[in-house]
Assembly symmetry: C2
């Protein structure tokens, strides 16, 4: 809380109140005060601000067992729309949400291999945003903000993608390029941060003090939600758990290192685990990560011995790596997120829990719950849209309830 | 900042203002406002509280280039005393500090091997505290609080040592036992936390957003100072970096695991590195960690090839482990602390910097400074005394300026 200000606290409390209302709507100020630990006058002030912003509605009264009837408030789903953009290596996905973060429209654009110049990516984003806005109709008319997730190192303040390894991007001014096509405000960050924010607002990290969101995809990372907020580090690059050492002098990694966690538990690493354990397995689709992980997921669910062996071996590596996070950070919950975790599902979770138990210290392990992400949709789009929601909440009191003129990068 | 309150912010700001005044005394409210980023009225209020508490004095005026002369404030060193207790495996050390955290008196009690029953340890603490209070004379008369550091898992709220591996302590109610001999308020935590707090207040983490304090002793751990405060985790066991895996299936560790960081860079691990590299080296003092590390420190400073080889190999392991912290947490500074770091000194630091550069990702590495702890005295006693100072600052507004009746465990 260095240089903490009352504004920071008010913003955090505003987040907390809106999170509760989204989770349970309609609700009363009294219930909110009880759920958040804030005083009733504080809750009343925050609710008033959110009503003024057009985000909440008064929706009637509830009986309160003989006492004065309590006013109920709910999210005004039509109070504005939020757009989340997930720029991935092989596709761009855009979703448009109402204020309760229900997805109203979605558009996907495939990108061909090699189609990765910044202006090509920006064109795909612009096309997909135009498409969802048209499909969403009226709701799209009042977009409160657009959040954009791009893989790699991101400077949020300048809106720059500093480095994206897979595309060899260096210091690409992505928000400036996007601003030619999209209305402000725009918010930029990476998928680790997006997934962490999505879990904080809508998933397994909601209401938890310290959570680690383990992202298992082609790449691997850990979004850190500490003290109820996202831990970013001094240059917004925290969470590169995929490039921590699990096996000193182990498998070579594209980062230049050896034995990185990612080389054992990212999708290509899991393919290699399969290749080493069962080189002739029909589950193996050489050169096709998605098909291989899908086959492993189906196989593990059906009790296929090859698939189970690979899941167990992958979980051994993953368990040792997650145990490190448990020992170091002592989180309340560890969330397994992203497509590899979703595809391998319960069989992976079961084996990971066992493995973490073998590798972690007893006490922090006993204090940690390990779960699959409960978010049913694309957590990156959801989290990116939440960047825009947070931006709107941060700006309360700095401007009126209408939007579109706020500084793009706060 | 989950459930953050205005009280939390006021306490954090009070910490920040007093830190600045201790670092540079006398100083003006204007300088404090400029240094902390707080408003002048806020600084004036906080300074007023600290004067009311007897911690600060008005000490005159400074010229301000033609403007109104500015009032100067300084720490009232005689405004109270703080006691820090460092309970270690082989000794108990107690230091008594004035309010500017200058050590006024110190007492050491050796503990014989096997002398580790709770009541034996408590007797040593009581004897040492009595001794420093007597030596400090008048200053000892107004002790604002006593902080106690004990190795292992600590429940700060109940004042209980839940688990200390080396002594096989389970759920020892240490503060209740100490309360029979010492005046309240008492504060309990472990050495990782004590060193992190000492660096935050008086060392290399002061004024930094995110810092990692790497403790290198017989045991190894990482105190995490994130967002300007200590990260404790859900059950106050964060920082067990010594028991994160560096070499999967590597050296056996007393925690039951294999390949833990501690087995390569703790004092016994370094002895083993020496044994493996130069089994007949005269630097090796079998069974005596302190003598061996001392010999290595002298040897490395003198350019002894055996010593340099061991320092380089140890730094390789340490570099890979610290690179994991840099990649995961993206800290502004990494501080090497505790007796092994102090003894091996600059030669170790030099090799560690090189090794972290080889193992860490380029961008977070470029954003991280790696330094030896600048704290010249026992950081554990200093940090433990600071627990008591923080306790006194937390209680402002809850009670009058005199002490001794506050709840012991806050």
């Amino acid at each position: 809380m260095r240089h903490g200000t009352s504004r920071d606290i008010r913003t955090a409390n505003r987040y907390e109140v809106l999170r509760r209302i989204i989770a349970r709507s309609p609700t009363s100020r009294q219930e909110l005060a009880a759920a958040t630990g804030l005083s009733l006058p504080t809750v009343a002030t925050l609710v008033g601000e959110l009503i003024g912003l057009g985000m909440l509605n008064e929706v009637g009264f509830e009986d309160s067992a003989g006492g004065r009837p309590r006013g109920l408030v709910a999210v005004d789903a039509s109070g504005g729309a939020l757009i989340g953009v997930d720029i991935a290596e092989t596709y761009v996905r855009v979703e448009l949400f109402d204020l309760a973060l229900n997805a109203l429209a979605r558009a996907d654009e495939d990108m061909r291999p090699g189609e990765n110049r910044p202006e090509q990516v920006v064109a795909h984003v612009a096309a997909a945003v135009t498409s969802v806005a048209a499909r969403a109709g009226v709701a799209g008319a009042r977009v409160l903000g657009t959040g954009v997730s791009v893989p790699g190192q991101v400077d949020r303040v300048r809106g720059v993608c500093e480095y994206a390894a897979n595309w060899d991007w260096h210091d690409v001014p992505l928000l400036d390029l996007l601003a030619e096509h999209l209305s402000p405000p725009l918010y930029l960050d990476n998928p680790l941060r997006a997934c962490a924010v999505a879990e904080l607002w809508f998933g397994a990290a909601r209401g938890r003090g310290d959570a680690v969101v383990v992202n298992l995809g082609t790449g691997v990372g850990a979004g850190l939600a500490l003290g109820g907020g996202v831990h970013r580090g001094v240059s917004n690059s925290a969470g590169e758990w995929g490039h921590t050492t699990l096996v000193l002098d182990g498998r070579p990694c594209h980062c230049g290192g050896h034995g990185c966690v990612e080389t054992y538990v990212g999708a290509p690493g899991i393919m290699r685990n399969l290749q080493e354990l069962s080189p002739r397995s029909p589950l193996l689709h050489p050169g096709d990560q998605t098909a291989t992980i899908d086959a492993l997921g189906r196989g593990a669910a059906d009790g296929d011995p090859d698939a189970l062996k690979v899941v167990r071996e992958t979980a051994r590596y993953l368990g040792a790596g997650i145990a490190d996070l448990v020992n170091l950070l002592n989180p309340e919950v560890v969330v397994l997120s992203s497509w590899v975790a979703a595809t391998l599902g319960e069989p992976l979770l079961h084996e990971v829990r066992e493995a973490v138990g073998r590798y972690a210290l007893g006490r922090p392990f006993a204090a940690t719950e390990i779960v699959l992400s409960p978010i049913p949709t694309d957590p990156v789009c959801l989290g990116a849209a939440t960047f825009a929601l947070e931006g709107a909440l941060r700006s309360v009191g700095r401007r009126g309830p209408t939007t579109g003129t706020a500084p793009a990068r706060t």
